[in-house]
């Protein structure tokens, strides 16, 4: 009897393990399909759902948060898609979120993507209808791609001719390939850099100067900023004009005078032009010199003579005192 019991126990364990595995598997699958746990139903209306089916995933922020419960046509231009969303995700989905039909990978299953908008909005509630985005249609994409391909064909043809032209000799390419040119360009670039450095320092100086000028520093600044000065300058200019006028008259007179002088007119003219007079003047100056020498001697002698001796001594004393 004990063996029978032991046998039955083993059988029991076998059956329990088998059914437990089945129940676990079914629970796990059901969990994935949101059959258990609390959910929220929201819907969105599309113009075209591209073959979206019941059971397809709903993604929010790239995470599977629910499944499509039903897809039904409600009018000739719109299809209503009811989605079952996990209750604990509800708080994150706002009323202004946008639903769009997408594809998992390039060839994968269809799915609904829910994307948040930037603006703030209250959270979504049971039965809300989300705004939808027109899905990308494969046909349309292929059609656009076709046009793009045609364009690329034309462009690549053009590019080919261009590259052919560049590759040929006597073209820009030869200039580009010349190393001397490159060296020159390099050195000129260095110079340009130096120049620009200088230009920078110069402009800095200029800036300082103009700043000073604006604030009335320095003579130019004073000149520029002082308003009374301008009136004075005006007066000066007027006076200068008058002066130059008189100067012109004077110079006219002088030129007349000089002309007269050259022609020997007047006493001065006679004096300047007469050569004999010069000779006479020389001799008379010589005689004056000798006369002056004599007068000097006389004066020396006079110093030591009695009436004047006292005066000279007195003068000497005052000079030494100083």
């Amino acid at each position: 009897m004990a063996t029978v019991n032991f046998r039955n126990m083993r059988l029991g364990a076998f059956i329990i393990i088998g059914t437990a595995l089945l129940v676990t598997a079914l629970y796990l699958i059901g969990n994935k399909q949101n059959l258990f746990g609390s959910t929220v139903r929201i819907s969105a209306q599309f113009h075209n759902v591209n073959g979206l089916m019941r059971g397809n995933n709903v993604r929010f922020g790239g995470i599977d948060v629910g499944t499509v419960e039903s897809v039904e046509i409600i009018s000739d231009t719109s299809v209503n898609v009811v989605m079952v969303i996990e209750k604990n995700i509800q708080q994150f989905i706002k009323k202004n979120a946008i639903a769009s039909v997408g594809t998992d990978g390039l060839m994968g299953n269809k799915l609904v993507n829910i994307n948040s908008s930037v603006e703030d909005s209250p959270t979504v509630e049971e039965g809300d209808v989300l705004k939808s985005l027109k899905p990308i249609e494969m046909d349309e994409m292929v059609r656009t791609l076709n046009v793009t391909n045609e364009n690329i064909k034309v462009i690549s043809g053009n590019l080919r001719t261009i590259t052919d032209k560049i590759n040929s000799k006597n073209s820009l390419w030869s200039v580009l390939m010349d190393t001397v040119v490159a060296e020159n360009v390099k050195s000129s670039l260095v110079n340009i850099r130096l120049m620009s450095n200088h230009a920078v320092s110069i402009t800095g100086d200029l800036k300082g100067i103009t700043y000073g000028m604006k604030n009335g520093k320095g003579s130019i600044g004073a000149l520029i900023t002082d308003t009374t000065l301008t009136s004075r300058i005006n007066q000066t200019i007027v006076k200068l004009e008058m002066f130059s006028d008189t100067a012109a008259i004077i110079s006219g007179d002088i030129s007349g005078l000089v002309k007269d002088l050259k022609q020997g007119k007047g006493s001065m003219g006679v004096l300047l032009n007469d050569t004999t007079l010069v000779h006479n003047l020389n001799t008379s100056i010589k005689s004056i010199e000798s006369a002056a020498g004599n007068f000097d001697q006389n004066m020396e002698a006079l110093k030591y003579s009695w009436p004047f001796k006292k005066y000279y001594n007195k003068q000497k004393k005052t000079n030494s005192k100083k």
Binding site: V4, F14, I15, I17, T19, L22, L26, I29
Partner: protein, 255 residues
């Protein structure tokens, strides 16, 4: 000659039908042979587990290794757990379990009942007042019907574990990721029909084995023949039932 073969085939089909009807009539009448049912469950279910587990493990491993090159060609190596889990759960594990059991249990029942029949034990049982159909056949058929599904579930689990090891031979798929992907892929439409059809497989194996054993004749030679034909017919029936089950699930769009 040809018409005679057809006659034999048709009469045998009719016999099996009547035998099945008789099973339903006897099995649900009171006075249940409960302890005998448990004993049969133990021998049919528990004792078959090692064989089924080893086969399922090897199938899981092999299918994974064999599927890899094709998927690698498409650059879809990451889909290996998904593909393997679907093919194992939907088809391979239930059918492999049923075939192994058809071989082990079908032949066992056929030989056991056949030798009982030949040695006139069944007749003696009838004389002694025990209903041999109830005691021998109903218990065995019920045991196979109940045990093959459980063996199938265990085979699913073991073969998926084999698949896990198989995916990790060349690539690296973590334990969590593997099971996550498996249960992400599997739906009720995959699991429920595959479990339901194993009940029918079990029933077919039991009923054919019993029929062949119960109707064996011509002495000891007949025992071998009934054991042999029990295996052949029940294996064939497993495939036919599988075809029907797949077509029905496909029609019901449970895929």
């Amino acid at each position: 000659m040809k018409s005679k073969t057809l006659q034999i085939f048709l009469s045998e089909t009719g016999d099996i039908g009547r035998f099945t009807y008789r099973f339903f009539v006897e099995a649900f009448k009171p006075r249940y042979e409960f302890s005998e049912l448990l004993r049969q469950c133990f021998y049919i279910g528990y004792k078959s587990l090692p064989l089924v587990a080893i086969t399922a493990f090897i199938m899981g491993l092999v299918i994974t290794i064999q599927s890899r090159p094709t998927l690698v060609e498409f650059g879809a190596e990451g889909w290996l757990p998904k593909m393997v889990s679907v093919s194992l759960v939907r088809e391979i594990a239930p059918v492999i379990t049923a075939l192994i059991c058809a071989g082990k249990i079908g032949s066992g029942i056929g030989a056991e009942l056949g030798s009982m029949k030949v040695t006139e034990q069944i007749d003696a049982m009838e004389v002694s007042g025990t209903n041999p159909f109830k005691y021998l056949i109903a218990t065995r058929v019920m045991a196979t019907t109940l045990m093959i599904p459980i063996l199938g579930i265990l085979a699913d689990a073991v073969s998926l574990y084999g698949g896990y090891l198989g995916t990790n031979i060349h690539g690296v798929v973590s334990w969590n990721l593997y099971w996550n992907q498996v249960f992400d892929t599997l739906t009720f439409g995959d699991v429920v029909p595959s479990i339901l059809k194993t009940f029918f497989f079990g029933f077919a194996i039991g009923i054919i084995g019993c029929y062949k054993g119960y109707n064996s004749n011509k002495g000891t030679e007949g025992v071998g023949r009934s054991a042999n034909s029990a295996v052949v017919i029940s294996s064939l029936l497993v495939f036919i039932l599988d075809l029907l089950a797949v077509q029905i699930t496909d029609l019901m769009r449970l895929t």
